[in-house]
Amino acid sequence: LLFDRRTIAALGPDRFAVNLGKDERAVIRAVCQDLLSLLVDDDEETPSLRRLFPAAHASDQGIDQAFQEMVHDDLLRSRREALAAVADSADQAELDRQTLDRWMVGLNSVRLVLGTVLDVSEDELPELEEDDPMLPAWAVYDFLGGVVDAAVRALGETLAD
């Protein structure tokens, strides 16, 4: 094999090639823009977003509320920055390390929301009929898992000791 056709291939510690087609890149941009539009100020009330703002103090709601108030804006800003960075670079043939890291984190946050909506469990994936209305969402969830895994591998291979 002359060429490395993995989805994401490390060309060096700060340079990564992204081998994705036009349609796949369009999906990546669209899901990030969709989640950005959901991440507004009253996001805590949206059930599908609960995995993005998890409890930090499992046994004390009062203490947890104080923690949530302290971190919420920072967490929201950080998520929005990652998703915007992915949407902005979705068509790039190469990414630097920081941008690929944002792909990994941003696309993982999309998976968390999709997985919550799909009620993903540890069990085997459900058998879906061809006309199941959730089939496209499952396909996107599966596709994003592949991209996140590819990003993890490429970043992990080039992790400084």
Binding site: R51, P54, M70, V71, D74, L75, V105, V120, L155
Partner: protein, 117 residues
């Protein structure tokens, strides 16, 4: 060993502390004081990561390497504990350090909580 950001000017937002911490990840202090003789407020806090069916095993392993500077072997062992036992202690320290660690784990989508040991 204290993180330099805990010395001097009070830490600003958690995001700023997280950005500083990510520049120089280091091993957490594992030495534990004698619990019986330690006042409650001085007892260390532990940070737990809980199993969830969405995050990929490879992703959880890499996030633990990235945030805490753990070796691949150590991060994989912790990930497997999370996966098989339902949870694992990934760091310990002061309340402020635990809050920062939980914030960074949440930023990465891991299901983390903190409690006093």
């Amino acid at each position: 060993m204290e993180r330099s950001i805990q010395i001097g000017a009070p830490p600003a937002t958690l995001a700023e502390r997280a950005a500083l911490a990510s520049v120089a990840p280091m091993e957490v202090e594992l030495e534990e004081p004698d619990v019986d003789e330690t006042p409650a407020e001085d007892r260390p806090w532990i940070v737990l990561v809980w199993n969830d069916p969405i995050n990929l095993m490879s992703y959880v392993t890499f996030v633990l390497q990235k945030l805490f500077g753990y070796s691949l072997e150590k991060a994989e062992a912790l990930m497997l504990d999370v996966h098989e036992k339902g949870r694992a202690v990934v760091s310990t320290g002061t309340k402020e350090k635990a809050e920062l660690d939980v914030f960074r784990l949440h930023e990465h989508g891991l299901w983390a909580t903190m409690q006093q040991d």
